[in-house]
């Protein structure tokens, strides 16, 4: 068997273009996949038409000047803002796809906000234009813009709540209020209670009826002051009624390590599948297969040799890839033996699958095509996270993914590169798949010659 292995390595060495393709292509794909999986979308490019005259950028709220542009900063900070001069330009940019969407802030928004703050009128409105050229993009744009507008809304709501709380504080404790540009001095319930108590103390003992009436007013002022204090607290909570207290229960792999695991798993899959399937099919194309199995090597030895050859090469490529990625991602070198174990088990399972594909396809080109056609959906399915699709569909995806080595290889690599422990199950899974696909390859070889 070692002579066959040596022969295959020699043939590979003499096929530099093939080796370059086999190594560079998956590494490139892996790097792209790793980047795509881990990097969220960058700031969306959004056109902004601000129709508010510069003199009307601020509104009066609870006696304070609130700069609307400043409060809307969360919206504009989270987008790649493209200022446009009019609605026509905004529409043109959206239609051409230069921007994902356009946000039109109308000139009357400050007045609407001012009215809303004073209890008159409804909500202020902004207009969003987007190009729903495909459903996926439409959903993305809607979600992105809604999320950003919500952030701006939250910031403004906090200012409104703070203004409301200010009014209440003045009503409770006294102070000055600015309404419609008029500065008003408000006594407040607390000081009013104090005054009433002082007046009551000075009433003659005989003025029982007045005393009783005064007690009612004092009680009202007392309770009113107390309850307005609670309302102030309540208004403070309006800006963020629900606070998120997140706790991680599983999958503690750092983002960089996950990207490296994805890249390594994709590379492992492509190199091993293509090499194993191609190497076996090549024996038939060179008409050497029948000569070999006439007592020179057994079919099982041939399967093991081809899977081993592909695994050996892909583990090498995988290690080089991880070495390269370790410059940009924080990979735990202390777990290097686990990297090798994950790569080796994954490569052997892919190797067995590749040999089965080669035995079924029988020709190098057909085997390569089959390997590509199978590998891409296997990888896509393996990368779908839970919650991204319905529960039933996700269960089906899990079952399908479990039939191929990509997902367990990814799990093993994730464990090796990030999470502590948890490698035994994926390694056993990969071993089982290697045995099953090896047996399938052995059966397929019956009609190989």
């Amino acid at each position: 068997m070692r002579w066959l292995l040596g022969k295959d390595l020699r043939i590979l060495r003499r096929s530099p273009l093939l080796v370059a393709m086999l190594v560079l292509y998956p590494v490139l794909i892996a790097a792209l996949v790793g980047f795509a999986v881990t990097s969220g979308p960058s700031k969306p490019r959004v056109a902004v038409l601000n129709e508010i005259p510069p003199s009307q950028q601020k509104i009066q709220l609870g006696g304070q000047q609130v700069d609307v542009a400043k409060e809307a900063r969360p919206l504009f900070d989270s987008i790649d803002r493209v200022n446009v001069k009019d609605r026509a330009e905004a529409e043109r940019l959206v239609k051409s796809g230069d921007v994902l969407a356009a946000v039109i802030v109308p000139s009357n928004i400050t007045r609407a906000l001012q009215d809303a703050a004073q209890g008159a009128g409804g909500s202020a409105r902004v207009e969003v234009l987007y190009n729903a050229e495909d459903p996926a993009k439409r959903r993305y744009v809607e979600n992105t813009i809604k999320a950003r507008v919500q952030e701006a809304n939250t910031a403004l709501a906090k200012r409104f709540a703070a203004a409301g709380a200010g009014y209440i504080k003045v009503l409770a404790s006294g102070g000055s209020l600015s309404i419609g540009g008029l500065q008003l001095q408000v006594l407040g319930l607390g000081p009013a209670e104090k005054i009433l108590r002082a007046v009551r103390a000075k009433l003659p003992r005989s003025a029982r009826a007045q005393r009783a009436q005064l007690d009612q007013v004092i009680e009202f002022a007392h309770l009113g002051g107390q309850n307005l204090g609670y309302a102030e607290t309540l208004l403070g909570a309006i800006g963020t009624p629900v606070q998120v207290d997140s706790r991680l229960l599983g999958g503690s792999t750092p983002l960089g390590a996950f990207a490296a695991a994805v890249a390594a798993a994709v590379t492992l899959m492509f190199v091993t599948l293509l090499l194993a399937s191609g190497a076996l099919a090549l024996e038939r194309e060179e008409n050497a297969y029948r000569r070999l199995v006439r007592g020179l090597v057994s079919q099982t030895e041939l399967i093991v040799e081809k899977a081993g050859l592909a695994a050996m090469c892909s583990v090498g490529v995988g290690l080089v890839l991880l070495l390269g990625l370790s410059f940009s991602a924080d990979l735990p070198w202390s777990r290097f033996p686990l990297w090798v174990a994950a790569l080796t088990f994954g490569a052997l399972a892919f190797g067995a699958l590749g040999v089965a594909m080669g035995a079924l396809a029988r020709e190098v080109r057909a085997a390569s095509l089959l390997a590509f056609m199978a590998a891409l959906p296997i990888a896509v399915l393996g990368l779908i996270p839970s919650g991204a699709v319905g529960a039933g569909l996700y269960d089906l995806i899990r079952v399908i993914s479990a039939l191929f080595p990509f997902k367990p290889a990814l799990d093993a690599l994730e464990s090796a590169l990030g999470r502590s422990g948890g490698m035994v199950a994926p390694l056993l899974h990969l071993t089982a798949l290697a045995v099953v696909y090896g047996a399938l390859a052995r059966i397929a070889l019956r009609r190989f010659a």
Partner: protein, 243 residues
Amino acid sequence: MEQPAAPEAFGVRAPVLEVREIEKRFGDRVALRGVSLTAASGELVAVIGPNGAGKTTLLSIAAGDLLPDGGEIVTAPPRIGWVPQQQSLYGKLTVEENLRLFARLERCEDVDETVGRMLEQTALADRADTQASALSGGNRQRLNVAIGLVGDPQLLLLDEPSAALDPRQRDRLWAFVQNLADEGTTIIFTTHNVQEADSHATQLVVLADGERLFDGSPSELREVAEGGDFESAFVAFLTARGH
């Protein structure tokens, strides 16, 4: 007790290969119907016949590549060299590397000696470092035959060995094959070129539609067919038997 005399004692060489009443079917199609064949040491046996006669199937069964559905292989040597019609060698390996690989896989005791001998016998020593894909068709075929010989077989089976070779390459190939037969290797070959069979074979087996129609020397076939030249005699022979 007196041992029975060996066949050689009577001037008869012991058969290296003897197959008897071989039957083979591929689905509904009958490829061989009760075909028998015997070949002695150093004999050059040509199996000829029209397309689909069962020539390659017979050789594949003799080589152990296919199992017969009926009949038996009475005698077969332990070492059989099988050279299929399609050249089975590695184009990316040199001539020497191809020979060395198969010598190792055949577990030859002295790989260097075997490779050297094969290079000498095939007259490919000067092309030893040439990749097989860069060889001419004739040289590739000689390498193909040489690979079949690295295990030092007593019986060499050649399926259409001269197909796609030009006349000069064919001559060199047959000189090489004749030399092997002279050294005692039994050779059974199939061919469509009946002139080649007439020129080189010591025994002819004619197959048609899976049946053996003739087994004898070329001169015997010529007598039976009562034709002029050998090719005309062969065609007349087949026509007379409805093929």
